[in-house]
Symmetry: C2
Subunit: 450 residues, 2 copies
Amino acid sequence: MVRAFDEEEKRWALEALGGLIRIPSVSAQGTGIGEAARYLRDLFRQIGLDARVLETGGNPVVFAERDVGAGRTILFYNHYDVQPPEPLELWSSPPFEPTVREGRIYGRGAYDNKGNIIARALAVKALNEPPVNVRFLVEGEEEVGSKNLPRFVEEHGDLLEADLCIWESGSRDEAGRLQIDLGCKGILALELHARGPKADLHSSLSPIVPNPAWRLAWALASMKGGGEEIKVEGFYDGVLEPTEEELEYLARIPFDERGRLERYGLEEFLRGARGAEVLRKLYYSPAMNISGIGAGYQGEGSKTVLPSVAMAKLDVRLVPEQRPDKVLGAIERHLQRGGFWDIELRCTEGYPAGRTPMDNPYVGLVAGAAGEVYGGAVIHPTSAGSGPIYLFTKRMPCISAGVGHAGSNAHAPDESIYVENLFLGAGHMALVMERLGEATSPSGRTPPGP
Amino acid sequence: MVRAFDEEEKRWALEALGGLIRIPSVSAQGTGIGEAARYLRDLFRQIGLDARVLETGGNPVVFAERDVGAGRTILFYNHYDVQPPEPLELWSSPPFEPTVREGRIYGRGAYDNKGNIIARALAVKALNEPPVNVRFLVEGEEEVGSKNLPRFVEEHGDLLEADLCIWESGSRDEAGRLQIDLGCKGILALELHARGPKADLHSSLSPIVPNPAWRLAWALASMKGGGEEIKVEGFYDGVLEPTEEELEYLARIPFDERGRLERYGLEEFLRGARGAEVLRKLYYSPAMNISGIGAGYQGEGSKTVLPSVAMAKLDVRLVPEQRPDKVLGAIERHLQRGGFWDIELRCTEGYPAGRTPMDNPYVGLVAGAAGEVYGGAVIHPTSAGSGPIYLFTKRMPCISAGVGHAGSNAHAPDESIYVENLFLGAGHMALVMERLGEATSPSGRTPPGP
């Protein structure tokens, strides 16, 4: 039965979320970090958990647990840091002043990831005596690459043992169904810096002076061709192609092709992909994206300059079983072999993909509970985005289930969640914990199949 | 005999130049245009010329003339507009406050092109009764592409008839010799605008959404290859290769290879060019330069964005007999054939190259006079830069001879000329006019050979 929260519980959750949004814990800008960590520690203590702020060398982790002596343990992975709020002028209300309008709570982090933290905390609070052991890992560097998390996980592995990890995210789709993702892609964030003359020169010298913007254009075009094929030798090594079964499953996932194209302002998807091919590329293809490029004069009119430097930023999205270090090495060798000795390659972030198999029995448990709460759930084999989920999928199934909706605007102005989804999400989590507890009860009931 | 100016003449020239520098006639920013034109009109009247401000549809032209009934006419081409003074913080004294330090006059336009105007005016003033008819064409849009000059020249061709045109520029080299250029390259200033999704998207969508920065990199790489070869079909049509004689001449031009490399901070010139090959490329090769490129996030750290738009600015340097309209058409066809329908090509400026043949007898006249004044002159077949000289080389020989030096910093902070060069330049121009007058005197003396 889906739990209905009483007024006190609802008020508690809304106040807890409001207080958390008010703390501008922007990891990229180094604000509000300690305050947010202490706020969460105190919040977890308030609902009966043993909570600590643990140092990582970077932004601290908030760890909270309650061991009820149950046979099963659930781990919630979340993060208290948020994306920068800029551009501020596009917000309808200030990003760090939580505001309720037409049933939605607006504010930076309302969905990503503070709303999810509070929904889970509300579930634990409402259960009073939870049927499973509960653990929270709330990190503070997710939005800047989780650089200190691998070492933290290695050093505190015992704290993180669990049967099931509920991942940070999850949203209802346009039809109201919960989208459940079973993994994340990996990422390599790269910068290419090309150098030419020691200062900008008059471009009349271009017949005799190397131009770093041309060098960069050639390097980039050598890495990926016009057919989107990545030409770096060894790049695709280890890539797991989807199985027949997975492809058949993809074809059954509801996907509003025309709606998406309209939202992006496109005539068609890349290389004319249609139908299940779109999701196959989105979930099973590695990709190399130019997120930024810059050189010379970019203002109005013309300036006849030969630039001294040129820069490009790439994010490479990795799929199982690509290894970031190997891919980085392959790109380095590619640039060397291509004679691009004047281009410096810097890696600012890197971790592999991680996925939970679709046939893991806990997938069905979480999806089944979502079906009861939301009237429907759609399981996606992975998110197209990246996150450090590989640290956990090695140890336990990781399944996303959260309080967002199709217009939640994560990372964008006017981020929001529906108040209703905050409570439905908490109800879903409470039901998952109950089912997980039943799965190990003396009745010997096993988790449902997928 | 080289003319020595008296104190009154020198004071007049310095005050005239100072007053002109004080007018911030920045065409790109639309300041001081009318004021500079009127200032020059009055200055020319002061020295006995018939001077008018003529409308062009854009910034006006100052035209001044004195017809003494001589058999020969000299035309001075100059411009009163200057480059923007930015970056202001790199100036040692304010750009529009002319300042004399250690024998130099500092200020925006001190060399380009106000110093040259005043040197020529001083020569006319000092000659009192010049031996040739004198004409000045001083335009106000040279620094922004001389867009209205072609029509002006067409409509006022009769005003511009002359036997010899002295072009705006010219500098002394490191050894003190006057560098005399006989032409300019043409130019095509282009912008490429690539469009992807209607707004920036999260880069996790890169497997299914086209990225305009990639499209731009591929388009650019398709236009010019890593060996610097321009791959646009028809681009090289009409290019005049240098003759054996011209190549031999190039090899004799003094060129401080190591000094140049050091100044640019390079190990070697582009593609390892050495010796006469450097000047051959600089003067006889067309070129395609990326002067600016921009897309996506260019700040610190990473932002996983798939940009909506990407932009590149190119300047294409043309040599005789390339035609800008044909080259533009070739580039358009190249992009169409390559499938780059998502890239918009804009042309913001375009005109062809123009040159005076090295064996034109007036070249020797101007160079010979420079030899007497400066102790040496080096004739270069063209400048590597661009200017609307083609409008005049069609009608008469055009030869540059000016008051700059190797460190004059045209277009850059701390632009300056040596006071001494202002007077030597005026002396040179007076001698050129005298020789030009002699060339048609009853003695029947012909101009000296090259």
